[in-house]
Symmetry: C2
Protein backbone atom coordinates (compact mmCIF):
# COMPACT_ATOMS: atom_id res chain seq x y z
CA UNK A 1 0.00 0.00 0.00
CA UNK A 2 2.80 2.34 0.95
CA UNK A 3 4.57 1.50 -2.31
CA UNK A 4 1.36 2.20 -4.23
CA UNK A 5 0.88 5.56 -2.48
CA UNK A 6 4.49 6.42 -3.20
CA UNK A 7 4.06 5.46 -6.85
CA UNK A 8 0.83 7.45 -7.15
CA UNK A 9 2.57 10.44 -5.58
CA UNK A 10 5.43 9.99 -8.06
CA UNK A 11 3.07 9.70 -11.04
CA UNK A 12 1.29 12.82 -9.77
CA UNK A 13 4.60 14.63 -9.52
CA UNK A 14 5.53 13.51 -13.06
CA UNK A 15 2.18 14.68 -14.47
CA UNK A 16 2.66 17.98 -12.61
CA UNK A 17 6.13 18.37 -14.06
CA UNK A 18 4.80 17.64 -17.53
CA UNK A 19 2.00 20.20 -17.16
CA UNK A 20 4.51 22.80 -15.93
CA UNK A 21 6.82 21.96 -18.83
CA UNK A 22 4.05 22.38 -21.41
CA UNK A 23 2.85 25.60 -19.76
CA UNK A 24 6.41 27.01 -19.85
CA UNK A 25 6.69 26.06 -23.53
CA UNK A 26 3.35 27.75 -24.30
CA UNK A 27 4.52 30.88 -22.41
CA UNK A 28 7.71 30.98 -24.49
CA UNK A 29 6.14 30.28 -27.88
CA UNK A 30 3.17 32.66 -27.53
CA UNK A 31 5.59 35.38 -26.30
CA UNK A 32 7.83 34.66 -29.30
CA UNK A 33 4.83 35.04 -31.64
CA UNK A 34 3.71 38.34 -30.05
CA UNK A 35 5.98 40.48 -32.23
CA UNK A 36 5.39 41.30 -35.92
CA UNK A 37 9.13 41.19 -36.76
CA UNK A 38 9.55 37.75 -35.19
CA UNK A 39 6.48 36.46 -37.06
CA UNK A 40 8.02 37.95 -40.22
CA UNK A 41 11.33 36.15 -39.54
CA UNK A 42 9.50 32.82 -39.18
CA UNK A 43 7.64 33.38 -42.45
CA UNK A 44 10.94 34.31 -44.12
CA UNK A 45 12.72 31.18 -42.82
CA UNK A 46 9.73 29.18 -44.03
CA UNK A 47 10.83 30.15 -47.56
CA UNK A 48 14.63 29.83 -47.17
CA UNK A 49 17.36 29.65 -44.52
CA UNK A 50 19.02 33.02 -43.89
CA UNK A 51 21.94 34.53 -41.99
CA UNK A 52 21.39 37.03 -39.17
CA UNK A 53 22.84 39.71 -41.51
CA UNK A 54 20.33 38.83 -44.28
CA UNK A 55 17.48 39.03 -41.78
CA UNK A 56 18.71 42.34 -40.31
CA UNK A 57 18.86 43.81 -43.85
CA UNK A 58 15.46 42.45 -44.82
CA UNK A 59 13.74 43.85 -41.73
CA UNK A 60 15.81 47.09 -41.71
CA UNK A 61 17.13 46.46 -38.26
CA UNK A 62 20.51 46.54 -36.49
CA UNK A 63 22.41 43.25 -36.16
CA UNK A 64 22.06 43.49 -32.36
CA UNK A 65 18.30 43.96 -32.61
CA UNK A 66 17.93 41.00 -34.97
CA UNK A 67 20.15 38.80 -32.76
CA UNK A 68 17.80 39.47 -29.84
CA UNK A 69 14.72 38.51 -31.87
CA UNK A 70 16.41 35.34 -33.16
CA UNK A 71 17.44 34.50 -29.57
CA UNK A 72 13.80 34.69 -28.42
CA UNK A 73 12.71 32.45 -31.32
CA UNK A 74 15.57 30.01 -30.62
CA UNK A 75 14.73 29.68 -26.91
CA UNK A 76 11.13 28.91 -27.90
CA UNK A 77 12.38 26.11 -30.21
CA UNK A 78 10.99 27.88 -33.28
CA UNK A 79 14.37 28.57 -34.86
CA UNK A 80 17.73 26.79 -34.79
CA UNK A 81 21.00 28.50 -35.67
CA UNK A 82 24.39 27.19 -36.71
CA UNK A 83 27.63 29.15 -36.93
CA UNK A 84 29.91 28.24 -39.80
CA UNK A 85 32.98 30.48 -39.90
CA UNK A 86 31.77 33.98 -39.16
CA UNK A 87 28.24 33.47 -40.47
CA UNK A 88 25.38 32.33 -38.24
CA UNK A 89 22.67 30.69 -40.36
CA UNK A 90 19.10 30.51 -39.09
CA UNK A 91 16.56 27.87 -40.05
CA UNK A 92 13.15 26.77 -38.81
CA UNK A 93 13.32 24.85 -35.54
CA UNK A 94 11.78 21.48 -34.65
CA UNK A 95 8.51 22.88 -33.22
CA UNK A 96 5.43 22.78 -35.42
CA UNK A 97 3.24 24.66 -32.86
CA UNK A 98 1.16 21.52 -32.16
CA UNK A 99 0.52 22.37 -28.50
CA UNK A 100 -0.36 25.97 -29.34
CA UNK A 101 -2.96 24.87 -31.89
CA UNK A 102 -4.34 22.33 -29.39
CA UNK A 103 -4.68 25.04 -26.75
CA UNK A 104 -6.47 27.42 -29.13
CA UNK A 105 -8.76 24.64 -30.40
CA UNK A 106 -9.82 23.73 -26.85
CA UNK A 107 -10.44 27.43 -26.15
CA UNK A 108 -12.61 27.77 -29.26
CA UNK A 109 -14.71 24.77 -28.22
CA UNK A 110 -15.32 26.43 -24.84
CA UNK A 111 -16.05 29.74 -26.59
CA UNK A 112 -18.59 28.13 -28.95
CA UNK A 113 -20.30 26.25 -26.10
CA UNK A 114 -20.40 29.43 -23.99
CA UNK A 115 -21.98 31.55 -26.72
CA UNK A 116 -24.46 28.78 -27.65
CA UNK A 117 -25.52 28.81 -23.99
CA UNK A 118 -26.01 32.58 -24.08
CA UNK A 119 -28.03 32.25 -27.31
CA UNK A 120 -30.30 29.76 -25.55
CA UNK A 121 -30.77 32.14 -22.60
CA UNK A 122 -31.70 34.97 -25.01
CA UNK A 123 -34.13 32.66 -26.88
CA UNK A 124 -35.73 31.61 -23.59
CA UNK A 125 -36.15 35.27 -22.54
CA UNK A 126 -37.70 36.12 -25.93
CA UNK A 127 -40.11 33.18 -25.61
CA UNK A 128 -41.22 34.28 -22.13
CA UNK A 129 -41.69 37.84 -23.35
CA UNK A 130 -43.94 36.64 -26.20
CA UNK A 131 -46.02 34.56 -23.75
CA UNK A 132 -46.38 37.55 -21.42
CA UNK A 133 -47.45 39.85 -24.26
CA UNK A 134 -50.04 37.33 -25.43
CA UNK A 135 -51.43 37.19 -21.87
CA UNK A 136 -51.70 41.00 -21.70
CA UNK A 137 -53.79 41.13 -24.93
Amino acid sequence: MRALLLQTARTGATVNHMVQYIEARLDASFAALSDATRRGVLAQLGCADASITDLADKFRMTLTGMKKHVGVLERAGLVTTEKVGRVRTCKLGPRRLEEEVMWIERYRQLWDARFDELDQVVEELKRKERVNERRKK
Copy 2:
Protein backbone atom coordinates in the same frame (compact mmCIF):
# COMPACT_ATOMS: atom_id res chain seq x y z
CA MET B 1 -5.46 59.23 -64.53
CA ARG B 2 -4.60 61.39 -61.54
CA ALA B 3 -7.85 60.30 -59.87
CA LEU B 4 -6.96 56.65 -60.55
CA LEU B 5 -3.47 57.08 -59.09
CA LEU B 6 -4.97 58.80 -56.08
CA GLN B 7 -7.48 55.99 -55.65
CA THR B 8 -4.78 53.31 -56.00
CA ALA B 9 -2.66 55.15 -53.45
CA ARG B 10 -5.68 55.30 -51.15
CA THR B 11 -6.46 51.59 -51.62
CA GLY B 12 -2.79 50.83 -50.92
CA ALA B 13 -2.94 52.94 -47.79
CA THR B 14 -6.14 51.18 -46.68
CA VAL B 15 -4.59 47.73 -47.23
CA ASN B 16 -1.50 48.90 -45.33
CA HIS B 17 -3.67 50.14 -42.47
CA MET B 18 -5.53 46.83 -42.39
CA VAL B 19 -2.29 44.83 -42.32
CA GLN B 20 -0.98 47.04 -39.50
CA TYR B 21 -4.27 46.64 -37.64
CA ILE B 22 -4.19 42.83 -37.91
CA GLU B 23 -0.50 42.73 -36.92
CA ALA B 24 -1.23 44.87 -33.84
CA ARG B 25 -4.11 42.55 -32.91
CA LEU B 26 -1.87 39.48 -33.30
CA ASP B 27 0.80 41.18 -31.13
CA ALA B 28 -1.79 41.84 -28.41
CA SER B 29 -3.48 38.44 -28.47
CA PHE B 30 -0.29 36.33 -28.58
CA ALA B 31 1.15 38.46 -25.75
CA ALA B 32 -2.10 37.94 -23.77
CA LEU B 33 -1.78 34.16 -24.31
CA SER B 34 1.88 34.06 -23.21
CA ASP B 35 1.05 33.71 -19.51
CA ALA B 36 -0.25 30.54 -17.81
CA THR B 37 -2.52 32.49 -15.42
CA ARG B 38 -4.14 34.41 -18.25
CA ARG B 39 -4.69 31.17 -20.22
CA GLY B 40 -6.20 29.72 -17.02
CA VAL B 41 -8.54 32.72 -16.67
CA LEU B 42 -9.77 32.24 -20.26
CA ALA B 43 -10.40 28.52 -19.63
CA GLN B 44 -12.23 29.44 -16.42
CA LEU B 45 -14.44 32.05 -18.15
CA GLY B 46 -15.14 29.44 -20.83
CA CYS B 47 -16.99 27.51 -18.10
CA ALA B 48 -18.72 30.41 -16.31
CA ASP B 49 -18.56 34.20 -15.90
CA ALA B 50 -16.67 35.29 -12.80
CA SER B 51 -15.91 38.42 -10.78
CA ILE B 52 -12.33 39.70 -10.43
CA THR B 53 -12.51 38.62 -6.75
CA ASP B 54 -13.53 35.04 -7.72
CA LEU B 55 -10.66 34.87 -10.20
CA ALA B 56 -8.13 36.29 -7.71
CA ASP B 57 -9.23 33.63 -5.16
CA LYS B 58 -9.16 30.81 -7.70
CA PHE B 59 -5.65 31.67 -8.89
CA ARG B 60 -4.38 32.60 -5.40
CA MET B 61 -3.44 36.09 -6.46
CA THR B 62 -3.93 39.64 -5.17
CA LEU B 63 -6.84 41.66 -6.57
CA THR B 64 -4.34 44.11 -8.09
CA GLY B 65 -2.45 41.28 -9.82
CA MET B 66 -5.65 39.79 -11.24
CA LYS B 67 -6.89 43.23 -12.39
CA LYS B 68 -3.68 43.62 -14.42
CA HIS B 69 -4.09 40.21 -16.07
CA VAL B 70 -7.77 40.89 -16.87
CA GLY B 71 -6.74 44.29 -18.29
CA VAL B 72 -4.30 42.62 -20.70
CA LEU B 73 -6.99 40.13 -21.79
CA GLU B 74 -9.54 42.93 -22.18
CA ARG B 75 -7.28 45.07 -24.36
CA ALA B 76 -6.70 42.02 -26.59
CA GLY B 77 -10.51 41.62 -26.98
CA LEU B 78 -10.43 38.21 -25.28
CA VAL B 79 -12.41 39.29 -22.22
CA THR B 80 -15.13 41.87 -21.60
CA THR B 81 -15.96 43.21 -18.15
CA GLU B 82 -19.00 44.96 -16.76
CA LYS B 83 -19.27 46.71 -13.42
CA VAL B 84 -22.60 46.33 -11.60
CA GLY B 85 -22.52 48.03 -8.21
CA ARG B 86 -19.16 47.22 -6.69
CA VAL B 87 -18.64 43.96 -8.56
CA ARG B 88 -16.84 43.76 -11.89
CA THR B 89 -17.93 40.63 -13.78
CA CYS B 90 -15.68 39.16 -16.45
CA LYS B 91 -16.87 37.12 -19.42
CA LEU B 92 -15.33 35.86 -22.66
CA GLY B 93 -14.84 38.61 -25.22
CA PRO B 94 -15.90 38.70 -28.88
CA ARG B 95 -12.65 37.31 -30.32
CA ARG B 96 -12.56 33.63 -31.29
CA LEU B 97 -8.83 33.73 -32.21
CA GLU B 98 -9.61 33.27 -35.94
CA GLU B 99 -6.63 35.34 -37.13
CA GLU B 100 -4.26 33.62 -34.71
CA VAL B 101 -5.27 30.16 -36.00
CA MET B 102 -4.94 31.40 -39.59
CA TRP B 103 -1.42 32.68 -38.88
CA ILE B 104 -0.36 29.40 -37.25
CA GLU B 105 -1.93 27.33 -40.07
CA ARG B 106 -0.03 29.30 -42.72
CA TYR B 107 3.17 28.83 -40.70
CA ARG B 108 2.62 25.08 -40.49
CA GLN B 109 2.13 24.84 -44.25
CA LEU B 110 5.48 26.62 -44.75
CA TRP B 111 7.06 24.36 -42.09
CA ASP B 112 5.78 21.18 -43.78
CA ALA B 113 6.92 22.33 -47.22
CA ARG B 114 10.35 23.33 -45.84
CA PHE B 115 10.93 19.97 -44.15
CA ASP B 116 9.67 18.03 -47.19
CA GLU B 117 12.27 19.95 -49.21
CA LEU B 118 15.02 18.98 -46.75
CA ASP B 119 13.87 15.33 -46.89
CA GLN B 120 14.24 15.45 -50.67
CA VAL B 121 17.76 16.90 -50.38
CA VAL B 122 18.73 14.10 -47.96
CA GLU B 123 17.21 11.46 -50.28
CA GLU B 124 19.11 12.92 -53.23
CA LEU B 125 22.41 12.82 -51.25
CA LYS B 126 21.77 9.19 -50.26
CA ARG B 127 21.05 8.25 -53.88
CA LYS B 128 24.28 9.87 -55.07
CA GLU B 129 26.25 8.10 -52.34
CA ARG B 130 24.83 4.71 -53.41
CA VAL B 131 25.74 5.43 -57.05
CA ASN B 132 29.31 6.39 -56.01
CA GLU B 133 29.71 3.26 -53.90
CA ARG B 134 28.53 1.05 -56.76
CA ARG B 135 31.12 2.71 -59.06
CA LYS B 136 33.93 2.04 -56.58
CA LYS B 137 33.16 -1.69 -56.51
